[in-house]
């Protein structure tokens, strides 16, 4: 099961492509888990490119975004809806820092 870890800050689509470049070109039936606990801030384009690369282009059976912020969760859900892959996205929001 492929795993990726997001950086502390993410901005561009190029950055998301670089992160996913090492993944196989296709992994149908694979579940991809992305650890987002470090990611403080992100652009919506970065999150959209991540969803596109993993669910649309590589056709993973499921993308699990784990421990992401409320806003990243929002961006991911919007992106998955727009791309018609919402049923293959699971988002787990991290607890708010006290």
């Amino acid at each position: 099961m492929p795993n990726l870890t997001l950086p502390e800050r993410a901005s561009s689509r190029d950055e998301a492509r670089e992160l996913t470049a090492s993944l196989p070109a296709s992994f149908a039936n694979a579940v991809v888990t992305v650890d987002g606990h470090s990611l403080d801030w992100s652009s919506s384009s970065y999150v959209d490119e991540l969803v596109k690369q993993i669910l649309s282009n590589r056709n993973a059976s499921k993308l699990i975004l784990d421990q992401v912020s409320e806003r990243v969760a929002l961006f991911a859900k919007r992106s998955a809806e727009r791309r018609g892959v919402f049923d293959r996205l699971t988002v787990k929001v991290r607890p708010l820092a006290s």
Partner: protein, 265 residues
């Protein structure tokens, strides 16, 4: 181009940009971060077209501010503009409120600018998150679509008061939103292009699910009761807590300017 006779700011830009003529800052009375980015973009276009520009305000305070914000450094070398008569100012440490005018060409440089701004300001987490979102989305649009360098500047106003706010500005003298979207959608008016950018879902790429960057920025700004201005050519778009509206200005500008104001408290 324009020759402002008063303040050149996020809130006065539409009035001042209608004072048409060669770029002339002689009578410029006040400038904010947005005005600086507008000047830099206009100066770059003027210089590339061989037009004469007057970049020194008569008002010493305004001239010092432009110098403190590095307008002269940014424009002097690459454009060959002579700004010798600008005053040299001692740079007091105001790094908690100022982020000087910066040129960027790549997403890495754009991200560095966003990092710098975030290292200099403080505020609630949702404001900082929105500052990052806006700077990275807008700067990446410049590097991906404008075909020119971008400029950005930021400043906090009325720090430590209930009115504390940050103004962010991002601009370029590039092809503009209408020409960029037109590559996939055909000819568009500037106003229609602004409307499409704010509504989201229109992109110059062949990916039908792209084109939501400005829409997502606008959504986050509206949630925080902030203000967004998008200017491209003669197209104008504004977003505030009451919604968004678009219009056609009597005066066009080269490229695209984006100005954002967010409350910091």
């Amino acid at each position: 181009m324009f020759a402002p006779q008063g303040s050149l700011t996020l809130s006065t830009f539409d009035r001042e940009v209608q004072r048409l003529g060669p770029l002339d800052l002689s009578n410029c009375g006040f400038t904010d971060a947005f005005g600086l980015v507008a000047i830099a973009s206009a100066a770059e276009t003027s210089a590339s077209e061989g037009q004469t520009v007057v970049l020194t305000p008569r008002n010493d305070d305004v001239a010092r501010y432009h110098c403190r914000m590095h307008l002269n450094q940014i424009l002097e070398d690459p454009l060959g503009l002579s700004l010798d008569h600008y005053q040299v100012v001692h740079e007091h440490d105001q790094t908690d409120v100022l982020c000087e005018l910066t040129r960027f060409d790549t997403w890495q440089e754009a991200e560095s600018v966003a990092d710098l701004v975030l290292s200099r300001i403080s505020g609630p987490a949702d404001v900082l998150e929105t500052v990052w979102l806006c700077l990275t989305e807008a700067c990446n649009n410049v590097t991906e679509h404008s075909e020119r360098s971008g400029f950005t500047a930021a400043q906090v106003y009325e720090k430590n008061t209930v009115s504390e706010r940050i103004v962010l500005a991002i601009g370029d003298a590039g092809i503009g939103i209408a020409s960029s979207l037109g590559q996939s959608l055909g000819p568009l008016t500037n106003r229609a292009a602004v409307e499409m950018a704010l509504e989201g879902g229109s992109s110059s790429s062949d990916d039908a699910s792209r084109g939501y960057g400005i829409h997502d920025m606008a959504d986050a700004i509206k949630t925080l009761n902030g203000f967004l201005l998008v200017r491209t050519g003669d197209g104008v778009g504004t977003v505030s807590r009451v919604g968004y509206r678009t219009s056609k200005s009597a005066a066009g500008i080269p490229g695209t300017l984006i100005g954002i104001q967010l409350p910091c408290v």
